[in-house]
Symmetry: C2
Subunit: 242 residues, 2 copies
């Protein structure tokens, strides 16, 4: 009997925003694997920490953050060999995923290597996009809105075209692209509709209109929400940590 | 002291896919409100049922399904007055929301009436879109993909334009539009990339390539996922109920 591979969505950061299902799996799996940057701790591991009984085996998947050759194929090759060794002897392995595993998640790089060979289950999680809208008191999308999710690294021409074409947008992966994105949104006269959310659901959560952000850069875990319309009813909330 | 209003995301249907936070709130709020169609039971109430301690007061929000004048303003006006009466005397009220409250959710109709007057917190939930991708073993979006969420009632011309313009799409609210949508996707030669998910995470969950659906209609709680590419690694899973 081989073990089962789980892609385990853990939600946006607040340990209380994991699902009962993910909590139960964390309580019983003998092996966890988790991504970490080469420069600091693992966010996914931190979300899971309060839910771990202790004593489990752990497989860090250390992904170099400064490489342009993404994904780091050899890192995922090596991690998948390690994970498979546990599955082969009947141990279940949970790969910890911040947010939702299949919403721009790195779990797909493990999934594509192992899901054909081992029983696999992906457990969805609350994505930071949903959490950001909730914390801010702004809809992601409603009625027959078209919602577009845009990665910040896209070029200005493509971003402009797509921002013009949608009523509701979430711009993710903004990090070092922040200043360029803010300038672009300003040039499009959409600053009154744009909201900035940083480290949603964590103690360090920050929420404010995009126009009020003082900094010129943003952390990796931040996002810009644009909702055209809604001025008559959007009530900016004090945030999930207030 | 007024009570607090919660918009409580309950996830896609499996009661184990609610968050610990939503579970705790359900355990202690004296009043719950929940949407229901005029023709059957409340899906949100059913997701919450295993988590309710019993004895709470309940406010049904019965929304006529056959009206074209959406939202049903008088229904939400009346429900908001009932909810406010509890908040005024210091009782917390949780409005139950299937999926995520601000992802095409009806909670916004309560929110726009009450959030300026009462302390309000929106608790995000796992959306059916994330759950559908997880159950199917298909990415929603990865790397620098643009993800577009399209409501099925949109017209063919707009749908065609937007489906052409995105690598990753989720088409929601398909219901009675199912046959038209399938024909459109077929005409665009995208059937090999299109997957159908019905009642995700429930016992009645059904998953299959769109091309294999025998019926000409779909239930309200169904969705079509399109992901162009990924043939080299997508592994269709047996579903979350397998």
């Amino acid at each position: 009997m081989t073990g089962k591979l789980y892609g385990l969505g853990l939600g946006p950061g607040d340990p209380d925003l994991i699902t009962l299902k993910a909590h139960k799996i964390l309580q019983r799996v003998p092996v966890i694997a988790w991504p970490a940057p080469d420069t600091g701790p693992s966010f996914a591991r931190a979300i899971a920490a309060p839910h771990l009984p202790g004593g489990q085996m752990e497989i860090p998947i250390v992904v170099p953050m400064r490489t342009d050759r993404f994904p780091a194929r050899d890192v995922y090759d090596k991690a998948s060999v390690e994970i498979a060794a546990h599955l082969d002897v009947g141990r279940d392995v949970a790969v910890l995923c911040e947010g939702d595993p299949f919403f721009y998640g790195s779990f797909m790089y493990v999934f594509e290597r192992l899901a054909a060979k081992y029983p696999t289950e992906v457990v969805p999680g609350v994505s930071s996009m949903m959490a950001a809208a909730s914390a801010a008191g702004r809809p992601l999308a409603a009625r027959n809105d078209v919602l577009t999710v845009l990665p910040g690294p896209l070029g200005n021409e493509e971003l402009t075209k797509r921002i013009n074409a949608s009523d509701a947008l979430a711009i993710i992966k903004i990090g070092r692209h922040f200043n360029r994105l803010r300038a672009l949104i300003g040039k499009m006269n959409l600053l009154p509709h744009a909201f900035y959310v940083e480290r949603v659901s964590l103690e360090a959560e920050r929420l404010m209109p995009l126009a009020e952000v003082a900094e010129d850069t943003a952390p990796y875990f931040s996002m810009i929400l644009i909702y055209k319309g809604g001025e008559d009813w959007i009530q900016t909330l004090p945030g999930s940590k207030a």
